[in-house]
Symmetry: C2
Subunit: 177 residues, 2 copies
Amino acid sequence: MLLFWRHGYESTSLTDLTTALGVTPPSIYAAFGDKKRLFLEAVGRYVGSPMTSSSIIANAKTARDAAVALLTASAIGFTGVDSPPGCLLASAAISCSPDAADVQRELTTIRRSIEHELTSRIAQDVESGVLPRGVHSETLSAHVMAVIQGMSTLARDGAARAKLLRVCETAMLAWPS
Amino acid sequence: MLLFWRHGYESTSLTDLTTALGVTPPSIYAAFGDKKRLFLEAVGRYVGSPMTSSSIIANAKTARDAAVALLTASAIGFTGVDSPPGCLLASAAISCSPDAADVQRELTTIRRSIEHELTSRIAQDVESGVLPRGVHSETLSAHVMAVIQGMSTLARDGAARAKLLRVCETAMLAWPS
DNA sequence: AGTATTCCGTAGTGATTGATACACAAAATA
DNA sequence: TATTTTGTGTATCAATCACTACGGAATACT
């Protein structure tokens, strides 16, 4: 997972994986089938630890809290000391060859589902009057997602955690009162 | 440039390039040296057309105008009908093998210089009183850059131009009055 | 204890990667 | 017109890619 996180799906060779794991290719292929499924397994581990975006959104009292929690968790997760900078979902398969188009679509689906969950949570608060009527939930959600994906690039470019956390605060200034 | 834009640096093979250009490998190597320099040449063409970020920032009356112009130009440029979705700078060399680390650093340098120019433009408005004292120019600039880089991912995931333009408006709600 | 099964390392598969030696042809120069 | 220079295609380079056939060792079952 860390190798895919740092170097991406296609640029992580089987040699990289076997040497890092201390095993030989047949072991990997017996356990996972092929490189594609191994990668998706690693993605599953990434999105499920330590806390899923879904649970963050579900456990938040308000949509605003959900947005703050998502942004903050991202800023922290993208600048871990013993993990590659940035977001695996945002960087591992952004640009790839046609052979990996299905892998690319898989990550797109995950990103869109997170965005959709946040959109629904916002719409729920608009519905219940917590957020003013007229708020465009889809746009508000897209802005939060854009900041998250963008912070991944900033982190990869060397931005410190404190800087990303300040970006989160700034992004939340766009949140309707 | 379009091939690198769509598939990234490493996933664009020399075969892709030669067949698209209608030439054979020796012609490319005689003209550009190697794949790395050809890519950087394509990047230079990308950042210089039709308008550079530097000129957008320089020609804007205020830092706010610069931010709006950068965001809008990005939203439009990332959703062109006859160009790949997203931003070449944001996607072509985000995750790559150690062999391409220098290419990665090159794009990081470009991204950081754009961010730095915007930071300076904001600081200038704070200095002259156009923006209130206490505004953290670096954070404000980083937020704009994050939204831009994030919109690249949204565009690659299929977001429409109108949606990205609405994201731009939302992002500008975080701008100090 | 003897047999069957699972597991993994050795070694190598064909295909593709970026990059080149060489020869020939067109064009520029003398 | 003769000669040099430039440029491109043919064919191929070693290296690496994801992937696998096969044999031997360790384990599980009878």
